[in-house]
Every structure is written in structure tokens, then in C-alpha cells.
């Protein structure tokens, strides 16, 4: 997504500047990966989540190479060429790497059993959907955003879903405890089950090599027909590394999204910028804008990571968090809760500035809080009304 957004930005900024060739390992044009959850839950169809179909590529005179055999296997930096698995070669003046991320997989016995899936691409969704028709018990490993979206999707497909999470609170990196509890209560109300603060020890297969059960740290066993692993992602930098580009946890880029090779740029989940890696969509779009600005030789934009707001894409559940919502000894917290309406809000203030927010149930003012936070506005004059929302200020 980051890659194609960069192309769109570039086309808008300098339509004639480049002859563009795009390689993709998935057999589609580009689609909205964020909507995979909706695809899984059946709320959206594939056609609805495609961003650019093949026609768009040809309309924009872009050469498109897609499919597994079009996966780039080598970058020849000296000759400025890339080569795909099937031997297709393309030379470049500028190369944009947007290889995204890979799911982190636990190194456990049985991790390669059939029925163990990740949740990264359309194919994963297709597989899950097909399992949902033939199997009953799904376990999702990981109570983060992706895991919960996967769990919700499978629940909508009629499976029995248990979420296995290694922390006592769901979305523990996005929510504080009261918000987590409300979220868990709501998901439980919808039929989701939880195994909290528990560690997976091993995966048990049946005779056919399909997953059958999970063994947990306390040696209890959990029946499991399908396991979705959603415990995090890692930048996909193998290709770049092989090409000798400087990488740490991701492909290291500067504020213009340029790698250590001046002809090569990188955006999205594969990069590392000022020590940070990325997993949410908002900064990716900003990277695309900045990167296109430099590719089109305007050369004035700098990329700076802003605090990113969390949103959970589960229909009917509204969750929002941004910034430092835990606070510290020098911060002050404001709370508002309405358990009957399942509303909880927390704002964290430091030196009269909003530095973090968690909203559950009523997230209508999330964007406004984010704005206040990004602008570093002095909130002292409106502090009393702040948590009730923009309408009351």
C-alpha cells in the first residue's frame, strides 16, 4: 500500500517524470490491506477492497508484473537492474522498495502443521474462509489489533473462536486497563472466548499433519482446528539485505525515505526510520507523500513520525488511542466513564498539553484530540470540558 500510494503521489506531482514498472508477488493489482478484516468478516467483497485494478496500471502507462513468479529475487545495484524469479529483468534509475512485513511466527514444535495461518494477505483470508466452512474451533494467537480483527472475522463466519494472549489485557499496547476490560467484555458478549495471560508451549497435530490442539504453559490443552498467528510483524528486508543495503531492524532510510543507496528509496512496513518501524497505515501515507516529493525532484519535504492513532476495525466497537496514554509521574490524567453506555475516556496531560488519549465506546472526538496533541496546543483554558468533547468546548 505504501508503495502504490507513493506511485499515485508521484503521478500527481510529476506525471511524465518516470517510466514506471511495478513488480508484485500477489496476483492482483494493489488492494487495501487494511480491509482484509472486513473481507474476512464478510462485510466487504474483494472487488470492494481493490484500490487499483490492471486497467488503472495500463491507463497510467505502468508496466505491471504480478504473481508469485514475478517476485523480485535480486537487486543488481551496480547495474541498476532488478530480476524476478522468472528471470524478468528491469533496469531502473530509481528503485522503490515496498516489501512490507512478515508475520512473526513462534519457534515452536508443530508451527508448520496444516491449519496454522497468518493474517497478511488475501490468500490468508481465502484459506481462513475455506477452513471456516469445514472446521469449528479457531484459536487466534495474539490479542492485538490484527488478532482481534481476525478473531472477529472468524466469529462472523460462525467459528468458535478463542483468543490466546500473553498479557492480562487485550490491546495492551493500545489501551489502558479499563478500556481493555470494556473491550473484552463486549467481545465476550459477542461470543469470543479468551485465554488471557497465557503462553503457548506447543502445537499438537493429528495423524494427517493438521493441527488438533494447543498445549499451554500450564500444560493444559486447548482444542484447535485452525490457529491464526498474529503476534506481530517484522520488516521484510531480506531482498535489501541481500543487495547489501544497510539494514538494522528494517531497511534504514533518512528523512527523505532514501536508503543508503541514493538511487534506492524504501517506504512502508519494511523500513526503519529514526529507529522506528511501522505497522499502521497513517504514517505510511505520509511516507508516500514525502518519498514522491523527492522522487519527483521537488525535494522539499521531510518525513517525521507523528503519534499514530489506533483504531480497531470491529464493527460496532469503537476504540481509539493515541500518544502516551499511560502517562508518568509528571503527567495528569482525566477520566470519564459511563459503564451503562460502555463509554470510557482517558486523557493524559503534561504541562497543559495533551500527550495521550484512550477512548472506548465514543471515539467521535478522537481526531480532534489527535489534532490537539500534534499541534501541542495549550489546553488549560478548555481543560474542564476537554474530555466531554469538542462540542462542549
Amino acid at each position: 500500500m505504501a508503495g502504490m500510494r507513493t506511485i499515485e503521489e508521484l503521478l500527481a506531482a510529476a506525471p511524465q517524470a518516470y517510466r514506471i514498472t511495478v513488480f508484485g508477488a500477489e496476483p492482483h493489482g494493489n488492494y487495501n490491506r487494511i480491509m482484509l478484516s472486513s473481507l474476512l468478516s464478510g462485510e466487504k467483497a474483494m472487488t470492494e477492497i481493490v484500490i487499483n485494478d490492471r486497467q488503472w496500471y495500463s491507463d497510467n502507462h505502468i508496466t505491471l508484473h504480478v504473481g508469485a513468479n514475478k517476485t523480485i529475487v535480486q537487486i543488481d545495484r551496480r547495474n541498476k537492474k532488478v530480476m524476478a524469479q522468472d528471470g524478468t529483468v528491469a533496469d531502473y534509475d530509481r528503485l522503490l522498495i515496498a516489501t512490507g512485513s512478515n508475520a512473526v511466527m513462534p519457534e515452536l514444535e508443530g508451527i508448520n502443521l496444516d491449519g496454522v495461518l497468518r493474517f497478511r494477505a488475501v490468500i490468508d483470508v481465502d484459506t481462513m474462509l475455506s477452513y471456516s466452512r469445514s472446521h469449528r474451533k479457531a484459536v487466534v494467537l495474539g490479542g492485538g489489533l490484527l488478532g482481534l480483527e481476525a478473531a472477529n472475522g472468524l466469529l462472523s463466519q460462525g467459528m468458535e473462536v478463542t483468543v490466546l494472549h500473553n498479557h492480562e489485557a487485550l490491546l495492551n499496547r493500545q489501551l489502558d486497563k479499563p478500556a481493555s476490560q470494556l473491550l473484552q467484555a463486549e467481545l465476550e458478549r459477542r461470543g469470543m472466548r479468551f485465554n488471557m495471560a497465557s503462553q503457548l508451549k506447543a502445537l499438537v497435530g493429528d495423524a494427517k499433519g493438521h493441527i488438533r490442539a494447543l498445549t499451554l504453559e500450564d500444560n493444559s490443552e486447548l482444542a484447535c482446528d485452525v490457529l491464526i498467528v498474529a503476534i506481530g510483524v517484522r520488516p521484510n528486508m531480506a531482498l535489501a539485505q541481500a543487495a547489501g543495503l544497510y539494514c538494522e531492524r528494517g531497511i534504514v532510510v533518512n528523512d527523505t525515505l532514501q536508503t543508503y543507496d541514493p538511487s534506492i528509496y524504501a517506504v512502508g512496513e519494511c523500513i526503519q526510520h529514526r529507529g522506528e518501524t511501522f505497522g499502521l497505515v497513517a504514517p505510511l501515507f505520509e511516507q508516500a507523500k514525502v518519498c514522491a516529493n523527492h522522487l519527483s525532484a521537488h525535494g522539499v519535504a521531510n518525513y517525521l513520525t507523528q503519534p499514530t492513532a489506533t483504531k480497531l476495525k470491529v464493527t460496532g466497537i469503537h476504540v481509539f488511542s493515541v500518544g502516551d496514554f499511560q502517562g508518568d509521574a509528571n503527567s495528569e490524567s482525566i477520566y470519564l466513564s459511563d459503564p451503562n453506555a460502555s463509554i470510557y475516556k482517558k486523557l493524559v496531560i503534561k504541562a497543559n498539553k495533551l500527550i495521550g488519549a484512550v477512548l472506548y465506546g465514543d471515539t467521535g472526538d478522537g481526531a480532534w484530540y489527535q489534532e490537539l496533541l500534534e499541534q501541542g496546543q495549550d489546553i488549560a483554558p478548555m481543560r474542564e470540558a476537554l474530555i466531554f468533547g469538542r462540542a462542549y468546548v
Partner: protein, 891 residues
């Protein structure tokens, strides 16, 4: 199935007639003014208008109680009779006392007085009228030889000048004020003068306001007498023929008032204004002087009354239409109490202990050989005697002395020390019932039957509207039953109120022959039916005046031994306790528009609590600055006698150096709102009336750590020792709070105060850095309670939140806005309640004035109905008009 019953209002001394429609099937009462009653001709004030809302059984005393245990009447009465007899046997009759009230009906009063003075044989029967009327009684006696109110209400429409002295009639006697206002509107030439240290609501219709220094009235009227003499404005013929003592009085006046300028300087008023008043008084034959507690409640109370009467005698302006001194009595039956002899120095039927013949006559009439021979103790001394242990047993009827007497903390201690405290009341929980050993349930206003006399000597019936609640009985029955059980069966064998009234009437005519003003002997033989149908009538009612009499003294005949009126030489003297370095300010006390006395009844009517919801203190802006007080902040006021907390109201209607606090709040409704504990116990040497309007005090800001409020559908038992005030609203109770200490954990503190379980889901808002904590409970979309706490002292207005308790369900917007305390966008906050009758708030009024371009109170009335019922908010509407219009015309 409904009946319309003519009765009278139980509040102030105006004594308005009420037409009550009683729905027999639902016991529902609808109140309207009685169009035929000569006191009000259909008008009612906000308090009278709200009477139907005070009739709830909830909170009533329903059964006799002995030491906290419910008892039968028979047991309780036996016990009281035996206990009284025992005390009398051991310590003599002077060891017992009765303390009555201007709320008692004449028949109740008569029986109580007869029991104590006629049969127990002690003078120790006094009443709360001592706090209210006794200076007028003493003044009348000195000048006229009898406690006679010379004129009548109709005079206010005939007068060319009306002078209010120490009277905020706009709030305290609203209906007579409305009559005067109407007269002024119809005849703008009618001059109105207000003499009062405060610029009260009554000043709204005044041509002249003389904000005299508190307590300087005698000087002002001595000055007037001197001025009249100096300007040949006296009626020499009248003085010569009908009066005595003029030259002594004039000499005193001249000796103490060198010039009008000198008087003005002493009274701290503008000399031209004083000159103007004197000139108007000299020129205006039809002048009425209406006076009330500002005159009476003083160590110079009697002198003030006589200083006023002197000026009327000097000009011969008495007993004729449209003129005369006129005392506005405080209570509905203060006059009836005086007629039966309810004050401790009185005997009965305007006869006194001072005349041995009177004692003999009454003894004979009552067939008693035990009659008291000398006056008993007046209120303040009576409670001192209880404190000292000289009085061992006291029976308090229908009044709340722990609140209303001066030095009220001592009164409280006195009752705590007293061996036997009996209280008969209609309300279960008052500051006084809390200290009683025996509680006797009396019938309430809507249940009683009898007569009352208003300020113009008019006797009217109070009639039963509803079946008595619980086992409540008439006061006369309770007293008679005890009397019978004490061995006085024959003298107290009354079967009905009419029996008592006939006896009272007979006594008034007994060996009277025109020697006593009070004579209603025409009623001595009236039938029960005639009593039932009695129409309002002004005494005397006798053979000479079978249809009553509007005015006394037109013939120039008085009740003194010589038959001439007495001038009294007045030497002005300052109040007894003067301000000093430690207590530099003067505390004045008084009534509010929408409350009555100690709020036991008016505080039940939600709409009467909106006008002034909290105990407050009014202070001049410069004094506020000097004492570091902020508007709407809290202040700690203390005197040598006690202390209170009150909400600060900064206003230039208050004179510098003077504070004003309302008299109404009790421990039932406020933690620290009993002004009585501050008030000094000095009394007038003659009338024994306390100086409740002049106590030196000190004021300082009360700075709590936090402030807050609770609105709750249910009444709460707060566990909070610091500042609180309880205010009943429409389907909710409001508690204003402030505190010294921050609770460790607001949510658990809130649960405790609200009586909530910790598991109850509730809305919560916390910002501990600001010191804000708010919570609300909503059950099935209906608001149950809200609590707001702040360390910043800025809380939202309560109006919008309060209104939500009347809604069966909150809508989503309202629910979401709850803890902001402010209406969701598009909803209107009506502001502080101004018109209690039609529930019109200040913001509504201001908006209408602005938007509709209203310029007069009448136009406001047409537009919003505000001020068109009782009219008592019209002065406030005028203030709003003035303020709003003046803002509008600024460039």
C-alpha cells in the same frame, strides 16, 4: 366531588383569605385567593399560593412519642399530666412553663393561657410573639392605654403618603404591599417613603428611601416631632384636648435633635432627603406609618413605636381614614395571641397583672382560686431559667425556639439540660423536636379549625380542609386533655373550638362596659352554625358595634385612666451591644420572600426553595473588599454568642458596616445556617423583645478545600461534618457542599454520601489535578443522582441538571451532557428562579427583555406571566429590566 372552603393563610400577619377547593376523592387541594376576603381580595403571595404543595404527610409527626417510643394518646397525656403535677408539687408552679406561637389558633392559645395562668397558677406562658410584636404591644399600651391597632388595611388605599419603617413589606407582607403598589400605580401622587438601613425590594415603589443607620429610628422621629413643632405642623387643638405629655416629649425631642442636619448626620443619611421626608410628613395629612420588625426587634423597640406614634398624635393623624400608625404583625395569629393574653405579662382578653381588679375579674370568670398573681418570664428569660434549672419542665407548642431565639446555642443547651421537654408540633423533625422527651402530634393548618386575627384586628376562620394525618389532634384538645388529667376537668371540658371561642368572647365582654378595647362579646352566645359560618370581621364586635369597627380613636377617646393619649418623652439611646475592634460589623436579620420562619413547611414546597436556596449574607462591596470576601464564596460570621456560615452576596443595597442574613435556616436544612446562634440576647427593657436586628459580628472568608453539590431523587443522610445545605426541589433534593479535608478516595466518599452500592454502575468524571470529581446515576434512562465536586470553586449552574429530575427519561444528548452540568447545545438554561408562581427564571426573563424589547414589568408579565400572580417578584423583574436595558443602550 369537590368542596370549596374559605379559610385563611397560615403565614404572615396580613391574614389573607383563601378559597381552597378540596377534591374529596383524591384529598387534593387547590389554593386560590378568596376574592371576598377584605385583607387580600383574591390576591395571594408566593408562599400562600404554594400551600397545596406543603400538605404532604411525609415528614409529619403522626403519633405521640414518649422518650422515642410510640405511645397511645391516653398514655402520653396521662404521662405529661403526671409529670407536670410532680414538678409543680416538688418545685412550685413557677418551675413549669408553656411556650406558644403565633401559629396557634386563638382557641388553642386561649386554652394554653388559661391552663398556665388560671390553673397551674404561674405566669410562665410566653410565645414567639415576644420576638415579633411585644414592642408594638408595649408602645400601644403606653400611648393608648391598650394594645390597640388604630387603623385598617383600607387606609392604605386612602392615604396620600405611606411610610414604611423597618418593614420590607414587599417580601414580608407581600399582599398588603401589592395593594399599596396598585394604589401607587393608580395614583402616582401617593408618596411612598421607606426608612430602612437596607435598600430592600420595598424600595422599588418608593419616592424616597432613607437608609438610616441601624438603630437610629428614635432620633429620626424625635427630629420629625421637633420639625413639626418648628414648622407649625402640629394640631394644637388635638394635642390640648385629646393628649397628655406633649411638651415633655417635644422637649426631649428638641434636646436630642439640634437641627435636621444634625439628625441626618447622626442617622447617616442625606440631609436633603431627610428634610424632604420631614416636609412631606408635615404637609401630608393622610399619612400612614407602617412599621414592623426593624422597629420592634430592638432594645429601643418600645421607644421607636412611641416615637412614631408621637408624630401621629402631634398631628392628630389617628383614627381617621387614610392615616395613622400601623403595626404590621409578623404571624398569622400574633394578634389573636395578644387578645387571649399569650404574652407572659398579659393575663387574658387585654387584661393585665398590673391591675389587681383584672386578676380578680379573670379569676372569677374562670372560677379559679389558683390564678397567677404576677407576670411570668418573657421568652429570653424563660429559656435562661430553663438553662439555670429554675424551670424544670417546658411545653413548646408549634414553634422552633432552638432556631428562632437569640443566643440560640444557649437555648439548645437549655433544652438539653431541661428535665422535661414536651413539644407539640405537626412536623416530626425540627431542631426543637430533636431535643424533646415527649412529642405530641398536632394538627396542621389544613386540618385545624378555629379563628385567627390579622394585623387589622380582623377575626377570620381557619377551616379544616383535609382529614387529619395519623393521630394528629387539635392543640386545644391536647391542652384540655392534659388539663383535665391534672384535675381541672370542669374548666377544660371543651367539646369543640366553638365552645372555647364563645368563652373567650364572653370573657372579653365580662365587666367590660367600654373600659377595654378588646370586646367581642357579641359572639358569646353564637351558635355552632354561626361559628361555622363566621365571616371575617374586625373587632370590637359588641352591642355598640355588632358588625365590627374599622378604626379606633376617631372620637379621641383612649384607654388610659384620663382617656387621653399619651405622648412619651423619648431619649434616643444606642443599641445595647455596639461594634468594636473585634466585632466591627452590625448583623441584621430578617425574612425572605419565599420562606416562612424556620422552613418546617415552606421548605417542603419545591418552588419556594428556588428563589434563595442557601443561607446567605449580604454585604456592601467595599466591606467585601476589606474582608476579602468574594461574591458567592462562603463566609464565616461570628459574634460573642455563636457562629454561622453563609454564602456571600455582595450588594450595594447593604449599608457599609452592615450585614444581613436571613432568619430561616435550621439544622434540618443547613449545617451552619442557624443565624439565631449569633444573635445577641439583649432585650428591650419594657417589651422584653430581643434586639435581633443588631448584633456586632466579625466576618471572614471561609475557605474550604473543595466545593460541590449533590442532586438526588431521594433524600440522603449525609455523613459530612463540614458545610452542607439541603434544598428540596421538584422531585429531587439538592445539597450544596463544601469541605475542609479532601477525602482519600472520591468515588468511595461519593458512594457513602449517596448511599450507593459500590457495584452500582454510574457515570464518573475525574480530574484530580483540577480537583474535579463528578458522578451520576441513571437507572432505566431516569436520572437518580448527580454529584459534582471541585477544588476550583467553579461549579456549573444547577438549574439544567435540576430540571432533568422531572423527566421520566433522559434523551441521549442529555445523558451525554450530564457530567458537563450544562445543557446540550440547543437546550436552554433558564437561570435562577425569579417568579416562583410561574417558574420563570432569570435567563428566560433577560432573554425575553432583550429579544421582545420589553420595557416594563407589565409587558414582561404579558409575555411570560412572570409577576402576574403574587407580584412579589416584580421588584426583581424591574431590577432585571433596568440592568438589561442599561446594558443594551451602552455604546
Amino acid at each position: 366531588m369537590s368542596d370549596t372552603i374559605q379559610t385563611t393563610c397560615p403565614y404572615c400577619g396580613v391574614g389573607c383569605g383563601i378559597s381552597a377547593t378540596v377534591d374529596k376523592t383524591h384529598s387534593h387541594v387547590t389554593i386560590a385567593g378568596d376574592k371576598n376576603h377584605p385583607a387580600n381580595f383574591g390576591r395571594l403571595c408566593s408562599k400562600g399560593f404554594a400551600l397545596a404543595e406543603t400538605l404532604e404527610v411525609n415528614g409529619r409527626l403522626l403519633q405521640p412519642q414518649l422518650f422515642g417510643q410510640t405511645s397511645t394518646w391516653s398514655n402520653a397525656l396521662d404521662w405529661v399530666a403526671q409529670a407536670f403535677l410532680k414538678v409543680i408539687e416538688q418545685h412550685g408552679p413557677e418551675a413549669v412553663a408553656l411556650y406558644g406561637s403565633g401559629q396557634l389558633l386563638t382557641e388553642d392559645y386561649y386554652v394554653a393561657n388559661k391552663l398556665m395562668k388560671g390553673f397551674i397558677g404561674s405566669g410562665n406562658m410566653d410565645t414567639n410573639s415576644r420576638l415579633c410584636m411585644s414592642s408594638s404591644v408595649a408602645g400601644h399600651k403606653r400611648a393608648f392605654g391598650a394594645d390597640t391597632v388604630p387603623g385598617c388595611y383600607a387606609d392604605v388605599e386612602l392615604a396620600d403618603m405611606i411610610v414604611f419603617i423597618g418593614s420590607n413589606a414587599a417580601w414580608c407582607h407581600p399582599v398588603i404591599f401589592q395593594r399599596i403598589r396598585a394604589a401607587k400605580e393608580a395614583r402616582p401622587a401617593l408618596k411612598i417613603v421607606v426608612i430602612d438601613p437596607r435598600k430592600t425590594a420595598s424600595c422599588a415603589i418608593a419616592d424616597l428611601h432613607l437608609p438610616l443607620a441601624a438603630g437610629s429610628d428614635t432620633l429620626l422621629f424625635n427630629g420629625l416631632l421637633a420639625y413639626l413643632a418648628d414648622h407649625d405642623a402640629v394640631d394644637s387643638a388635638y394635642i390640648d384636648q385629646q393628649t397628655e405629655g406633649f411638651s415633655a416629649a417635644l422637649n426631649s425631642a428638641l434636646a436630642t435633635t439640634q437641627s435636621t442636619e444634625h439628625v441626618a448626620a447622626q442617622c447617616q443619611i442625606n440631609s436633603e432627603d431627610l428634610q424632604q421626608f420631614y416636609q412631606w410628613f408635615a404637609q401630608t395629612n393622610k399619612t400612614m406609618s407602617l412599621y414592623s420588625q426593624g422597629v420592634n426587634q430592638s432594645t429601643s423597640g418600645t421607644d421607636k413605636v412611641n416615637a412614631i406614634i408621637n408624630c401621629h398624635l402631634a398631628t392628630g393623624r389617628i383614627g381617621q381614614p387614610g392615616m395613622g400608625p400601623f403595626s404590621l404583625t409578623g404571624q398569622p395569629n400574633a394578634m389573636g395571641g395578644r387578645e387571649v393574653g399569650g404574652l407572659s405579662h398579659q393575663l387574658a382578653a387585654h387584661m393585665d397583672f398590673s391591675k389587681p381588679d383584672d386578676i380578680q375579674r379573670v379569676a372569677q370568670f374562670w372560677s379559679s382560686d389558683r390564678i397567677a398573681q404576677q407576670p411570668g418570664l418573657p421568652a429570653v428569660e424563660l429559656f435562661d431559667a430553663i438553662y439555670d434549672g429554675r424551670i424544670k419542665a417546658v411545653w413548646i407548642m408549634g414553634t422552633n425556639p432552638v432556631v428562632s431565639l437569640p443566643n440560640a446555642d444557649k437555648v439548645k443547651q437549655a433544652l438539653q439540660r431541661c428535665e422535661l421537654v414536651i413539644v407539640s408540633d405537626c412536623i416530626a423533625h425540627t431542631d426543637t423536636t430533636a431535643l424533646a422527651h415527649v412529642l405530641l402530634p398536632a394538627q396542621a393548618w389544613s386540618e385545624k379549625t378555629g379563628t385567627v386575627t390579622n394585623s387589622e384586628r380582623r377575626i377570620s376562620r381557619q377551616r379544616r380542609l383535609l382529614t387529619p394525618a395519623g393521630e394528629a389532634m387539635p392543640d386545644w384538645w391536647i391542652i384540655s386533655q392534659v388539663a383535665q388529667r391534672m384535675g381541672f376537668e370542669q374548666a377544660f371540658a371543651y367539646q369543640t373550638a366553638a365552645d372555647i371561642f364563645r368563652e373567650h368572647a364572653a370573657l372579653s365582654g365580662y365587666e367590660n362596659n367600654g373600659t377595654r378595647d378588646f370586646d367581642i362579646s357579641a359572639f358569646a352566645d353564637m351558635s355552632d352554625t354561626d361559628y361555622e359560618q363566621l365571616v371575617p370581621i374586625q373587632w370590637p364586635v359588641n352591642a355598640s358595634h355588632p358588625h365590627g369597627k374599622a378604626r379606633f380613636f376617631a372620637d379621641g377617646k383612649f384607654y388610659t385612666p384620663s382617656g387621653k393619649a399619651h405622648f412619651i418623652a423619648i431619649t434616643p439611646k444606642p443599641p445595647q451591644h455596639l461594634p468594636d475592634a473585634q466585632y466591627p460589623l452590625i448583623l441584621n436579620t430578617g425574612r425572605l420572600r419565599d420562606q416562612w420562619h424556620t422552613m418546617t413547611r415552606t421548605a417542603i414546597a419545591a418552588k419556594l426553595n428556588q428563589h434563595k436556596p442557601e443561607p446567605f449574607v449580604e454585604i456592601h462591596p467595599q466591606d467585601a473588599k476589606q474582608y476579602h470576601l468574594t461574591h458567592n464564596g462562603l463566609a464565616h460570621i461570628n459574634s460573642r454568642w455563636g457562629a454561622m456560615l453563609a454564602r456571600v452576596q455582595i450588594t450595594d443595597t447593604q449599608k457599609r458596616g452592615n450585614l444581613f442574613v436571613p432568619m430561616h435556616w435550621t439544622a434540618q436544612y443547613a449545617s451552619h445556617g442557624r443565624m439565631g446562634s449569633l444573635v445577641n440576647p439583649a432585650v428591650d427593657a419594657l417589651s422584653k423583645q430581643p434586639e435581633s436586628k443588631y448584633t456586632p459580628v466579625h466576618i471572614s472568608p471561609y475557605q474550604p478545600q473543595w466545593v460541590g453539590f449533590i442532586l438526588s431523587r431521594k433524600a440522603l443522610s449525609l455523613n459530612h461534618k463540614d458545610y452542607w445545605v439541603k434544598i428540596k426541589g421538584e422531585q429531587f433534593y439538592r445539597y450544596e457542599l463544601a469541605g475542609h479535608d479532601l477525602p482519600e478516595h472520591w468515588p468511595s466518599w461519593a458512594q457513602q454520601q449517596l448511599g450507593r452500592l459500590s457495584s452500582t454502575p454510574c457515570l464518573e468524571y475525574q480530574d484530580y489535578h483540577l480537583g474535579n470529581y463528578r458522578t451520576a446515576q441513571v437507572i432505566k434512562q431516569r436520572l437518580e443522582s448527580v454529584l459534582f465536586i471541585s477544588r476550583q470553586k467553579d461549579l456549573p449552574e444547577r438549574t439544567w441538571l435540576s430540571g432533568l429530575f422531572s423527566k421520566p427519561q433522559l434523551d441521549d444528548d442529555e445523558h451525554r451532557a450530564l457530567l458537563t452540568g450544562c445543557p446540550p447545545l440547543g437546550k436552554v438554561d433558564v437561570g435562577t428562579m425569579v417568579c416562583a408562581c410561574f417558574r420563570v427564571g432569570e435567563k428566560t426573563l433577560v432573554n425575553a427583555i432583550k429579544e421582545q424589547g420589553l420595557t416594563t414589568a407589565a409587558a414582561v408579565g404579558q409575555c411570560l406571566k412572570a409577576g402576574t400572580n403574587c407580584g412579589s417578584c416584580v421588584p426583581e423583574i424591574n431590577v432585571l429590566l433596568k440592568r438589561t436595558l442599561s446594558v443594551k443602550t451602552l455604546p
